[in-house]
Structures are given as C-alpha cells and as structure tokens.
C-alpha cells in the first residue's frame, strides 16, 4: 500500500537570520539575500564566512544573515574585504553593495580590488537608483528615467550615460568571474543563484576577484507595484544591462553545480 508522507520542497536557509528585514514589500534585495544564504548553506561555508555590508538600503545586511558581518564606510566594502581576506585567507569574504555604493562613491575601491585580483566575492545590486536616500539618480540610472534628482528624466547631454560595471570590471586581468544576472522571474532567479555559487567557488579555489551583478527592483522609488517593477527590469533594464558571462575562469567554466 502506498502511504503519503510530506517532503519539504523548500524551507528558509539557516544562513539567513530569523529577523524580519526592513526592506519594502517586494524589494528583490530580499531575494538576493536568500540566494546568498542558500549558497552558503549548500557549500557549508556559513561558519567561516565574513560579509561586508555597504551603505544603502542594505546597510543592515549584518542583521539579516546568521554569519559574521562587518559594516564598511560608504563604497569602501572592497577595501575592507581586502584587508580581512589578506589577514584571514582561509575565511570566505564577500561584500554586498548597491549601485550607488559600488559604482559611484566606491568606484575607485571596486576597480582596484578587481585589478589587484583580490580573492573576494562581490554581490552587486543594480537597481538603477539610490534607494535609501529617497530615489536619486545613480550612475546606473537609465536614460530618460525619472528620479528625484532628475525630475525631467535622465538627460544624456547633461548627465551622461549609465555605467555597465560587469563589462568594465571584466576587462581587468585580476578578475576571475564576472557575470550579470537578473532577479525578475523564477528562471532568472535560479540562474542568479548558480552564478553566486560559482562566484564563491572562484574564491574557494583562489582564482581571483569574483562579482555577480544582479538586476534588482526598487518598487518604492520606481513608483511601481512589486509585480510591475519586475516587468520594468525585463523591459527596460535588461536592454541597457545585458545578462551574460563577461569573464569566467576556464576552471570555473568546467564546473557542474
């Protein structure tokens, strides 16, 4: 006789703390957190992982993960991670940074950490806006996009073009793994998780700097519903920030995870 017994298909990862996040409903910062925690669980890295939190909406990331965390000054997470990793090379060290943090005030730190080939991992949240401070224009803001500091839409003539960080960083010899993924639907979320896994695998193998850029939503400052914000990523952000593998160390390219 066949009897039925429940099987758990999904449960909250243990590397995620039980605390409720302060993120707005539907903000995909939470999805990125979940994926990192799932990967740390799967690779059994929680005990030796040190995260470096940014300034931005994810400033409290240290409260949301159940592993060691430190807080960096705005944009300086890659510098802090460099110091930690050099002193504690056996530990797994990653930064979690928004686009204002990484591509604006922290542009120098990220470029040189990648150029030096620091053996750290960076999870880069590109939501095309400064979320925490009220929706100002970021270096990643799309042409024509309305923000509180570009109320008439980003004007390319006076405000310049968005920067594509994954492409830029992939040109540096110190980079071992640089890709862009998106968090807008289940299939892409699965691919994003795999990329985070491969970024940590890069670090564990000592293959240099690794970065996963994630296209992420900010429903509050985009003034869209959570569901419409995901559509905005698909329709508006992906054409400007194409998904893809910009640099993959051949050893990582061969891995099956």
């Amino acid at each position: 006789m066949a009897i039925a017994e429940p099987k758990i298909v999904y449960q909250r990862p243990t590397s995620l703390a039980t605390r409720v996040t302060h993120y707005c409903p539907g903000c995909t910062h939470g999805v990125a957190h979940r994926l990192i925690a799932e990967v740390l669980d799967e690779m059994e890295l929680r005990e030796k992982t040190i995260g470096v939190a940014p300034v931005g909406c994810s400033v409290f990331a240290y409260n949301y993960f159940d592993h060691d965390y430190v807080e960096a000054a705005h944009g300086r997470a890659p510098a802090m991670a460099t110091g930690i990793k050099r002193m504690l090379p056996k530990n797994t060290v990653y930064t979690y940074q928004g686009d204002g943090d990484l591509a604006s005030i922290g542009m120098a730190e990220i470029m040189h950490a990648a150029a030096r080939g620091e053996n750290i991992t960076v999870v880069f949240i590109n939501n095309a806006i400064y979320g925490m401070t009220g929706g100002q224009m970021a270096p990643t803001t799309l042409p024509g996009m309305v923000t509180t500091s570009s109320p008439g839409g980003r004007d390319i003539e006076s405000m310049g073009y968005p920067v594509r960080m994954a492409e830029i960083l992939s040109t540096l010899d110190g980079a071992g793994y640089v890709v862009r993924r998106s968090l807008h639907d289940p299939n892409n979320i699965r691919k994003a998780k795999k990329a985070i896994r491969l970024a940590f695998e890069t670090q564990e193998r000592g293959l240099g700097f690794s970065l996963v850029e994630l296209l992420s939503s900010c429903p509050t400052n985009w003034k869209l519903s959570p569901v419409d914000a995901l559509q905005f990523i698909e329709d508006k952000m992906i054409p400007m920030f194409p998904l893809g593998d910009y640099k993959v160390n051949p050893e990582i390219g061969k891995l099956r995870v």
């Binding site: 066949a2 039925a4 099987k7 758990i8 298909v9 449960q11 909250r12 910062h29 995901l230």
Partner: protein, 76 residues
Amino acid sequence: MAIKGWIEVDELHCKGCGLCVAACPQNVMSLDMERLTPKGYHPVHLHADGCTGCGICAIVCPDAALTVFREAKIKA
C-alpha cells in the same frame, strides 16, 4: 481532488507583496484580505486546491516566508 502539495506561510515574514501570487502557475494563491500579520500586511494563503508543491512561490519570495511541502509516495 487529492492534495499533492501545500505551503506554510510564516506570517511574521510575509509582507503581502504578491510576487508569489503572480508567479504561482496553478493560480491558487491570493492575499487573505480577512487577516493582518503582526506588521499589518495581508498575508498570502492558498484559496483553492491544486497546489502541486512546485516551489516557484518560494523562489520568488523576497522574505523567505514560505515553506513548501509535497506528498511523497512511499512504497510499503
């Protein structure tokens, strides 16, 4: 119809964002407008049979508020 899958909603974490509602391939999820979570959101619930335990809702949930179960047949 026999239940094949079901979810448990952690009402402390659910923020009623509706991303799971939009992603559910069976269209059996909705916000429960009769209830409020401790934070004041309408939590998600299953309003009909038909959940297969596919786990897609949990993949899109930003707050890891869902545990997903599926009936597993064990041969006796």
